[in-house]
């Protein structure tokens, strides 16, 4: 495995949490542990009193189409509910509402093949959100997306009311959207910073400072 993690204890509050750290520091491994894709050799991961295996988890990666199972957008969106034995009527209704929230109603009859990069991300979000996950993971999903597209996703995430959203990123401007930041290095948590109130933490460079980016985005709305 790429990273070996050692985390004596860590509590992530409900809300949006950003994970960052150098290449190979264990970000993806950490996300896999949270979501139950891998299990710790020692210790436990608990989400709201439950083992991750018993929770509903949504996952969107760097290349969302690589995790897609079906050839049609509708089937991809429906899959989490079909696997959970929901009725066809219920599934259809849920997809309708979700697609409209995501602005992808025009895509639901399309084939996955032929969608643009941005459309794929939205469909992947749809498939991750449709089962109302306890935890939504975004593993460097932002790395191919422009600022305005990210703003659109931020709105979707805020509206979805998911209890826990955890995303990994290398971009300080993206961390500005989180409630807290966890910094990993060599498999250890070296810092956990709350962004709910400013405190007096100093950043070496202004472009590294999430508070600076909050200022930029406050004055410059998403759409030009």
């Amino acid at each position: 495995m790429a990273g070996i993690l050692s985390i004596p204890s860590c509590t992530i509050k409900p809300g949006i949490c950003a994970i960052t750290g150098p290449n190979g520091s264990g970000k993806t491994s950490f996300l896999k542990l949270l979501s139950g894709i891998i299990h710790p050799e020692r210790g436990t991961v608990i989400i709201r009193g439950e083992d991750p295996d018993r929770c509903t988890i949504g996952w969107v990666g760097e290349y969302p189409d690589r995790n897609m199972l079906f050839t049609r957008v509708y089937d991809e969106l429906a899959s989490p509910l079909r696997f959970a034995h929901f009725s066809c009527e219920e599934i259809e209704q849920t997809i309708k509402t979700l697609a409209s929230d995501l602005g992808i109603t025009h895509l639901i009859t399309r084939e996955i093949r032929g969608l643009s990069g941005g459309e794929l991300v939205l469909v992947a979000f749809g498939a991750a959100l449709i089962a109302k996950p306890d935890l939504l993971i975004l593993d460097e999903t932002d790395s191919h997306l422009d600022d305005e597209f990210c703003f659109r996703l931020d709105v979707i995430i805020k509206k979805s009311n998911i209890r826990h959203v955890v995303f990994s990123t290398h971009r300080p401007e993206r961390m500005a959207t989180a409630d807290e930041i966890i910094i990993l290095d060599e498999g250890r948590i070296v810092s956990q910073i709350s962004l709910l109130d400013k405190g007096n933490r100093e950043f070496d460079e202004r472009l590294q400072d999430p508070w600076f980016w909050r200022r930029v985005y406050k004055h410059i709305p998403g759409d030009s």
């Binding site: 150098p22 290449n23 990069g117 460097e140 472009l207």
Partner: protein, 236 residues
């Protein structure tokens, strides 16, 4: 000892893909070019045309000069072997140099797919940037790279000579010294012009640039240190 100047020349290029149509025209001279644009604006398709992977439906593209062309795509597309050592040896150039540049000297026998995303990216970038290509198109070179690795990429780019280097990125806070700015907008390529002189003509500048302008700050370039300098001049 005059070397012919490398240059890529696009004339009336049209490429159709489903309902999407790409139009591109322009000349890419030696130096560092940045192509920005929104998701779905056609940046990656243009990169594929510049590298000769796709041929235009209409118009022509010509590569003048030495014409050794390389395109950085998603790194897993580049993988042809199993271990770090084998992969480095499969490229033009010195395998040991590639491995040590990528900082993977202690992972020579590691399976490429058990490297982290950033480690694999460093390996492929080291191979491309030391491969003496005349035209290098880097599609999202910074995706998946941490701060240190971004600086490392830029140091290599900045010492290149007589090469046409095209960086395709929406991430403008990690750039090296860029000489020419281009923008893709709904499938159409626009030449914004020389940096920093023509930056003011940028049609869809990212939020940070708009914020700087609003504060009356003129950018001296798009390199990371230019941006750092610019943001320090913003009044508190």
């Amino acid at each position: 000892m005059k070397r012919e100047m490398n240059r890529v020349h696009l004339q009336g290029v049209v490429k159709k893909k489903g309902t999407f149509t790409l139009y591109a025209e322009g000349e890419f001279f030696p130096g560092v070019h940045l192509i920005t644009g929104k998701v779905g604006s056609g940046k990656t398709s243009l990169g594929e045309i510049l590298a000769g992977i796709h041929t235009p439906d209409e118009g022509t593209i010509s590569w003048e000069g030495n014409m050794r062309v390389m395109l950085l795509q998603d790194t897993s597309y580049h993988v042809t072997t199993i271990t770090v050592r084998e992969e480095a040896a499969s490229w033009h150039g010195n395998a040991d140099q590639i491995i040590s540049l990528a900082g993977l000297a202690d992972k020579k026998d590691t399976d490429l797919f058990s490297l982290s995303r950033g480690e694999l990216k460093r390996l492929i970038l080291a191979a491309i940037l030391t491969g003496k290509y005349d035209i290098i198109v880097l599609d999202e070179p910074y995706a998946g790279l941490d701060n240190e690795a971004r600086k490392w990429v830029n140091r290599i780019i900045e010492i290149s000579e007589n090469q046409v280097i095209v960086i395709i990125s929406h991430d403008i806070t990690s750039l090296p010294d860029v000489q020419y700015l281009w923008e893709m907008d709904e499938g159409k390529l626009f030449c914004i012009g020389r940096v920093p002189e023509e930056l003011k003509n940028w049609n869809r500048p990212p939020p940070l640039v708009r914020y700087l302008w609003r504060n009356g700050i003129i950018l001296e370039g798009l390199a990371r240190y230019d941006l750092e300098k610019a943001v320090c001049r913003i009044p508190e």
